[in-house]
């Protein structure tokens, strides 16, 4: 069975500082990995994904994530945080080759708070 862990319920960072939101996963085979962001009273919005290739993937709003197979991690990063980045972030994993039904498993979410 696949699983995702987001070890931090909340991450606090000062505006202008780099941020990291952690995600580790467990899945058979090479995973498909995703990050989503949720703003208050909205649905989840896709940020970026790792399917194959370069371990560093870039996504929307200046976010990037690094896939580390040996550590089974997919941490979300941004070089310089903005107050507007404050939101709830979800990591998700699904195994490849499971057909088109695409049933991912989501982490519990990490609340990112960027202080002015």
């Amino acid at each position: 069975a696949q699983s995702v862990a987001q070890p931090e319920d909340q991450v606090n960072v000062a505006e202008g500082n780099p941020l990291t939101v952690k995600c580790t996963y467990s899945v058979s085979g090479n995973p498909y990995l995703f990050w989503y962001v949720q703003y208050p009273n909205r649905g989840l919005q896709f940020l970026l994904k790792y399917i194959t290739g370069d371990n560093l993937v870039k996504g929307s709003y200046g976010f990037e994530a690094e896939f580390n197979k040996s550590q089974t991690s997919f941490h979300l990063k941004k070089p310089s945080a903005l107050v507007s980045d404050s939101a709830l972030y979800f990591c998700a994993v699904r195994p490849p080759g499971a057909g088109g039904s695409y049933i991912p498993t989501f982490g519990r979410g990490t609340s990112l708070i960027v202080h002015p």
Binding site: G43, L44, F90, G100, F106, G109
Partner: protein, 114 residues
């Protein structure tokens, strides 16, 4: 934004009453999903559909049923609502052309059962 509309956006009802939530998409995507979001639990899959009249259970399907009679509509029904079903419900869709495609989410329905 993907064309996904959830209705109603808010609902308050009483224990024991039936409740139906609607998800409507204009993207012609094959796959549709219902999730519930609760503090400390993240997103949990209730049911999903892989085509018209083709549905399957997720990890928290007890007390819920779904129907999909048209590609664009996916209904979630609570036959007899209980207070434990108070939650925020999200619909999501995804394409079938590529396994790496992300899901797209509606803005949710906040359901309170008193």
């Amino acid at each position: 934004d993907a064309g996904i509309t959830q209705s109603p956006r808010h609902k308050v009802t009483e224990t024991g009453t039936p409740v139906t939530l609607r998800c409507h998409q204009t993207e012609n995507h094959r796959y549709m999903y219902w999730y519930r979001q609760d503090p400390g639990h993240g997103l949990r899959l209730i049911h999903y559909s892989y085509g018209v009249k083709d549905t399957d259970k997720g990890e928290v399907s007890d007390g819920y049923s779904v129907s999909r009679s048209k590609t664009e509509d996916f209904l979630l029904t609570l036959e007899s609502a209980t207070s434990s079903q108070t939650s925020v419900y999200f619909c999501a869709i995804s394409e079938s052309k590529s396994e790496g495609q992300p899901q797209h989410f509606g803005d949710g329905t906040r359901l309170s059962i008193l």
